[in-house]
Amino acid sequence: MNHSPASRNSQENTPPPRILTLQIDGQDLSGRADETILEIARQNKIHIPTLCRLDGLSGHGGCRLCLVEISGQNRPVPACLTYPQEGMVISTASQRLQDYRRKILELLFSERNHVCAVCVSNGHCELQELAVELGLSHVRYEYLHPRLEVDGSHARFIRDPNRCVLCLRCVRVCAEVEGAHTWDVMGRGISSRVITDLNQAWGSSQSCTACGKCVQVCPTGALSEKGTSVAEMIKHRHFLPQLLAMRTNRRE
């Protein structure tokens, strides 16, 4: 979390960032040395799929969907955390990358119980949208079907780990923006689970401020508002850039 663009900028006495020229998907572009390849691509209307990435939160690099190829390097790199170098030649949509992205999505779908048909986020889900975008018609890997309890103990929100993709947006928004650090990840590997406090019912958490930021940033139906039914949970993300802008203004 020390490596967000923001903290790179704020290092003492850094001279103004250099402007570099680079090539993305055949287009000659320029970008600042302290902006990630993803940011530069977006400025130039080049779309790269992402999932764990969310503007306003630190970079994570876990979902691997934004992998891009840099010529001269065999292994693709995450666009969200890679900074450009002068003359870099980048490819964002090769057959190989699209193929990797589809397989990564397949792995995500196989990991938990993503039953879109009965999910509060059906139709408003980033995982579902990615499947459409990447043309994923079916999952070849065996579904793991873990047995996970839904936590309805909170007065206003529901947590359904069956839909969780471990993007850690909830963990990051709670620690970095709200400052409560109610969420974290217990265990490791395939047994990783997002938890509140000492792995207790959300409703009994003493650190949670019930601000709901985690719910709004969650890309799937893993966190939702109580009272929403199938396909009714629509998330509102615009608060985050606004909130961060307001805070920056106040400081200055």
Binding site: F109, N113, H114, V115, C116, A117, V118, C119, N122, G123, Q128, A131, V132, G135, S137, H138, V139, R140, E142, Y143, H145, P146, R147, L148
Partner: protein, 177 residues
């Protein structure tokens, strides 16, 4: 012109995909001129026929009977389409996979039942340990996800196939839709 021999069936599902098929409405007439429906829950045929051109299969594989049917369909059809989320992902029927089969049976047949508290032994095909999608068992040629897939997408699928083209279904439906 020879009419295309089409079969449809449902395995472990809710028949909603067939409802969506019927929702094609008046254009069904248009289709009917080009096809011969040789087997379907909607028509009166007992045995799955041979030399089927296109088989639309709804539902997941949940019991031994589903599996036997599916294998027969695969053997006797040129093109097998997984129709809808249950066939493609195992969907809702697979929600029991997180539990042990005995737990599921006990819950359904004794814990929540009001009479005849016993597990079925005869006349009901034995459940398999896990509910799985079609492609876990047989080669599937086309996948049309959706719960159910929109009738528009089913119509597109059929008309493209009848026109001799393999349809690109990627923008036509999605998981859960």
């Amino acid at each position: 012109m020879n009419k295309a021999r089409i079969a449809t069936t449902w395995l472990d599902g809710c028949s909603g995909c067939h409802m969506s098929l019927l929702d094609i409405d008046e254009r069904l007439v248009e289709l009917a001129e080009q096809i011969e429906l040789v087997y379907s829950p909607l028509v009166d045929t007992l045995d799955f026929p041979e030399a089927v051109d296109i088989a639309l299969v709804e539902g997941a594989v949940g019991n031994e009977d589903d599996l036997k049917k599916l294998q027969l369909i695969r053997k006797q059809s040129r093109l097998l389409v997984a129709l809808g989320d249950c066939a493609v992902t195992a969907n809702v029927p697979a929600m029991r996979n997180a539990f042990k089969l005995e737990e599921v049976l006990r819950h359904v047949y004794t814990a929540t039942a009001s009479s005849q508290l016993q597990l079925p032994k005869e006349e009901v095909p034995p459940l398999r340990d896990r509910v799985r999608p079609l492609h876990a068992y047989v080669e599937v040629d086309l996948f049309l996800p959706g719960c159910p897939p929109p009738s528009e997408a089913i119509f597109f699928l059929l008309s493209e196939l009848l026109a001799g083209r393999i349809p690109d279904l990627s923008a036509k439906s999605r998981f859960g839709a």
